[in-house]
């Protein structure tokens, strides 16, 4: 029987199978950041262990870093302490470290691909659930806990049972104003946040084949929000063109040899999946969430569903709407918003800033809206300037901040105040995610831009 893309990559990384237990699974690339690694290093120290392959681990600071005045010392002593721990541990164990102020610094899932650390067929982990992003390259990439960070540091392996396999096909042509973010939010709204739990997803169909690498990263990034450990897309010419000549990509004959292997990384025609779903691109319109988990999303022109028509407990659903200050059957278009956040590992790349700029160009930011525009990395920031997007944004009344995770999880000062509404291009709308009491509406960069200039939830198709 044929193998899936996932099988091929998984099976080639199993060091040992344990009867009635997990596989000992080898990790090619490991990313660490300041929040989930310090305790792993403490564990190493207490056991007297070394880092087995320091050249396979890459450190970047992103989760708690400020997005203004990065040249100044970090004011919050706890954040500063975590950043120092990352720097000290990286130095002590010989790990490459792109800390605050480093020209390659940025969000871990942005800097990995843009520097060519990510590659097809790789196994990639990080103490961050959005590690699934790297699946866009045909890698098996997923988030792990700190105990597993310690395992990878000390043995380059973790112990994982092989997940089940799901394929999600989306075919057809995406409509005007419908972005990869909308495709992902649409799928999550159909599956719910637990619909893919226990599975690893392969995305297939011409919608994904025609997507740019950045779009594929947005889709794979959100795999975790449907409960999947990760999602992946078979590598193709788009993938190879993106990776070629990246700073840490292979060169010359090694590159050619690798590409020849990567071309074999696709699901065989006779391979089978535990579950398979198919959607049509024409069903998808620009999406927005109205509740407190990413599965609570609807087409922007739709009304908030009736409690009796949603899957799951009515009490939980009503608690969620109460938190958001919304009612069943409310229309989303026209809802007043207070904040806009463009950024994160989901939508903090150059194409996201291009999309945002395409809407705000020639328009002005609504006076009552506070907008945080946070590039995913310094490389993205540089491109925004080189391409003239900064001029467009500035002309429209926006300010560009410095790279980091920022308001996606609000560990730094970028917190949305209690009760305020934020249209965010990030990945989670959980209660308090963007600050205690904050209310998040997840959407694409186009929807965020439309809200930023009108001050209310607006269908971006009217402004394109």
């Amino acid at each position: 029987m044929g193998k899936t893309l996932f099988d091929k990559v998984w099976d080639s990384h199993v060091v040992r199978k344990i009867e009635g237990g997990p596989d000992v699974f080898f990790i090619d690339r490991h990313f660490i950041h300041e929040v989930t690694s310090p305790v792993a290093f403490l564990g190493l120290k207490s056991r007297g262990l070394k880092v087995l392959y320091p050249e396979r681990t890459f450190a970047t600071a992103d989760h708690n870093t400020p997005t203004i005045n990065q040249h100044l010392p970090v004011e919050d002593p706890l954040s500063a302490n975590q950043l120092k721990a990352l720097e000290d541990n990286s130095k002590e164990y010989g790990i490459s470290h792109w800390g605050l102020g480093h020209h390659k610094n940025g969000i871990v899932h942005v800097v990995g691909p843009e520097n060519g650390i990510t590659f097809p067929g790789a196994t990639i982990v990080c103490g961050d659930s959005h590690t699934s992003t790297h699946g866009a390259f045909g890698a098996i990439a997923f988030g792990i806990g700190t105990s597993e960070v310690e395992m990878v540091l000390s043995t380059q392996c973790i112990m994982q049972p092989k997940p089940k396999k799901m394929r999600i096909n989306v075919n057809g042509q995406l409509g005007k104003g419908v972005t990869p973010k909308d495709v992902a939010l649409f799928i999550i709204s159909k599956l719910t946040t637990s619909g893919a739990t226990g599975y690893f997803v392969e995305y297939a169909g011409d919608v994904f084949e025609n997507m740019t690498m950045e779009g594929r990263m947005t889709v794979c990034n959100l795999s975790i929000e449907m409960g999947a450990r990760g999602g992946m897309i078979a590598p193709d010419e788009t993938t190879f063109a993106y990776l070629k000549d990246k700073p840490l990509s292979l060169k010359g004959a090694d590159w050619d040899k690798a590409v020849a292997h990567w071309k074999t990384l696709k699901t065989d025609a006779d391979a089978t999946f535990d579950k398979e779903l198919t959607f049509s691109a024409s069903e998808i319109e620009p999406m927005i969430t109205y509740g407190t988990n990413p599965g609570m999303g609807i087409g922007i022109s739709k009304n908030i569903p009736d409690a009796n028509k949603v899957e799951g407990g009515i009490a939980t659903y009503k608690k969620s709407l109460e938190y958001m200050g919304y009612d069943e059957n409310d229309v989303m278009i026209g809802k007043k918003i207070d904040y806009v956040f463009l950024g994160s590992c989901t939508n903090g790349r150059i194409e996201d800033f291009r999309a945002f700029a395409s809407i705000v160009k020639g328009r002005k930011k609504a006076d009552h809206v506070t907008a945080w525009l946070v590039p995913g990395s310094h490389i993205v920031e540089d491109k925004i300037k080189e391409e003239g997007l900064l001029d467009i944004l500035t002309e429209s009344g926006f300010v560009l901040r410095q790279p980091g995770c920022s308001a996606c999880l609000a560990m730094n000062d970028d917190k949305v105040p209690a009760g305020k509404y934020a249209v965010s291009t990030s990945n989670r709308n959980f209660e308090g995610r963007q600050g205690p009491g904050s209310r998040t509406l997840l959407a694409s960069p186009l929807v965020a831009a439309a809200a930023a200039v009108t001050g209310v939830v607006t269908d971006p198709r009217e402004l394109l």
């Binding site: 237990g21 000992v24 989930t36 310090p38 989760h63 961050d128 792990i144 105990s147 310690e150 989670r428």
Partner: protein
């Protein structure tokens, strides 16, 4: 990490009958700034448990002295969201050794097993029975028997078996963790790595 061995736990339970309890609720991101593992229990369910002025929210179950014990019982899809192991540390540090639900998010379940919290998945029907029993009498004792993989409502005798793979079960029974295992096969791992292109 080192944790206490888990064999059989008999305890009252704390009911939290909400679905999709995510790790941002279990431990909000702003409390992830420690560089040590202890102390997260104080902020377990922080924003459901305390008002902005740090006074306790009376209607939250952890602030209700009637409900105590080492077993937390949650609704479907418990632990979704972030991979932060701090969520499992917070559960453990607060004093829970077992979380019961009808469905767990993958990473949270894995993290629990790695830090000595036993995730027990039961059927939706049995979960309802537990909630009913605990609400009828907060002193209801649940017995979680890891060697036999059973969970029992002692007052009613209602019982279900639960799944756990034999490797993880052995770890929990003995207080072992994966690093102990991996360290013992380091030579095998190094030979494997030698054969890789990248």
């Amino acid at each position: 990490m080192a944790y206490d061995k888990f064999t059989t736990l008999t305890s009252t339970a704390v009911p939290l009958p909400l679905e999709n309890v995510d790790t941002d609720q279990i431990i909000p991101a702003r409390f992830l700034k420690a560089t040590a593992r202890e102390g997260f229990g104080d902020n377990l369910f922080r924003d459901w448990r305390y008002n902005a002025d740090h006074t306790p929210k009376e209607n939250f179950v952890l602030n209700n002295p009637i409900y105590t014990g080492k077993i937390l019982v949650g609704g479907k899809n418990f632990g979704s969201g972030s991979s932060r192991e701090h969520a499992a540390w917070a559960v453990y540090d607060y004093g829970f050794r077992c979380v019961v639900s009808s469905f767990f998010a993958d990473i949270f379940r894995n993290n629990c097993l790695n830090v000595g919290v036993l995730p027990v998945q039961v059927s939706p029907t049995f979960l309802e029975q537990i909630f009913e029993a605990v609400y009828a009498d907060p002193n209801t004792q649940l017995e979680v028997d890891l060697p036999n993989q059973t969970i029992t409502i002692l007052a009613t005798g209602g019982q279900e078996t639960f799944e756990i793979n034999s490797y993880k079960k052995d770890n929990m029974l003995n207080g072992f963790d994966d690093i102990d295992y991996l360290q013992n096969i380091k030579g095998e791992i190094e030979s494997f790595a030698d054969g890789l292109l990248l």
